[in-house]
Symmetry: C2
Subunit: 249 residues, 2 copies
Amino acid sequence: MHILPEFPLVEPGDDLCEHILVSLQKASLSLQTGDVLVLAQKIISKAESRYAYLNEVVPSQQALELAPKVDKDPRLVELILSESDEVIRQRPGVIIVAHKNGYVHANAGIDKSNISSDEENPRVLLLPEDSDVSARRLRDELLERTGCQVNIIINDSAGRAWRNGTAGMAIGTAGFEPLVDLIGQNDLFDRPMEVTQVAVADELAAAASFMMGQAAEGAPVVLVRGAKLIPSDSGSGALIREKAMDLFR
Amino acid sequence: MHILPEFPLVEPGDDLCEHILVSLQKASLSLQTGDVLVLAQKIISKAESRYAYLNEVVPSQQALELAPKVDKDPRLVELILSESDEVIRQRPGVIIVAHKNGYVHANAGIDKSNISSDEENPRVLLLPEDSDVSARRLRDELLERTGCQVNIIINDSAGRAWRNGTAGMAIGTAGFEPLVDLIGQNDLFDRPMEVTQVAVADELAAAASFMMGQAAEGAPVVLVRGAKLIPSDSGSGALIREKAMDLFR
């Protein structure tokens, strides 16, 4: 695993593909087919200009009612609700929602460290519109520019049920199967057990998240080389448990 | 990150410290202070002889009532219950419990691929009695034999709420802070935000779990070198969300 060095601060409209290739060059690395690039969600959101300005947000009745219960600005609550399909839990400080892209995420991934310092017109950063689309686009661009078929993970730090602290989770993938079936074992009665599945994309997202956290400065891209993954055109949807099968919604 | 090569099949009473040092030697590696060793739970359990024989288990009334609802052998259900403080959810195939060591875990971590092939007297493998104690003991032994202060993680593959597939989680740690506070940012009103905490032990457990899954043969120990961790005598308890603070119990 390599942290891509000297990655610039990303601005709306930036060419992330170009940033990646320049940074790789600084590290004397060149891409290879099969490489995995893990990108922090925030740089995708910034490149895609997913800023929202609170002064432009008109809170709905639902947001106005929810805001005091969660101790948040009603305009921020409105943004969280508009990014989500369903509120799953709430308490002061946090609204846990099913994001409209499917994953369960605190505050729709919005209000972590993304508040602008401009007090007159504060802004927040939303998650990418569709991280699987963003991942696929980047994969396609890298293929066009380098000839290499690269796997992409867009990761975000996510809170979990039952456990303190965040861990990296994959909110977008391209190029590989994010969920891998293990060969079933037999149970006590010699019947095959329920299929065991491993969320390899989440494990890689967590590994990269650890690496990003270890860097002294912002290090939003990690290269993983040598991982054996199953090529696939599917995105990250397989990682999301169907609502009807979810005991915790 | 290095997979320790040619790690032997572990038997009850085995000296894991010795196995680790021999395997490191085969890889031409020697331990350094600050290294992290991540060990799969199953080798700790095997070394500690945490086998349970179903023929020796007498199911309680609660186990007899629960067994048909979860489609499991009542004796296995009895073991799951006796390893747990509380049943949190259930459905056919799975009982999600709070393990008596605190973490929420499907089937108390018991019935994955641990069923013996001896049909006359089937056995299963329980989690270590206390993985923090096991981790600390191994750390102490390695210190005594090598002079190096090594960090230990005992990992297990765990199902999660909301997401398909398992990911590595830390059920025991020694030597370092498993949960790290980030420096707080200010919120919209220039108040410090809730402290952000990162579950570094779980991120490393997930990374190692990915590595273990990549190996062609059993690879139950991974060495992580160069991680910056905060030395601490605390175990893994900080990773467990207090019941009163948990919205999903």
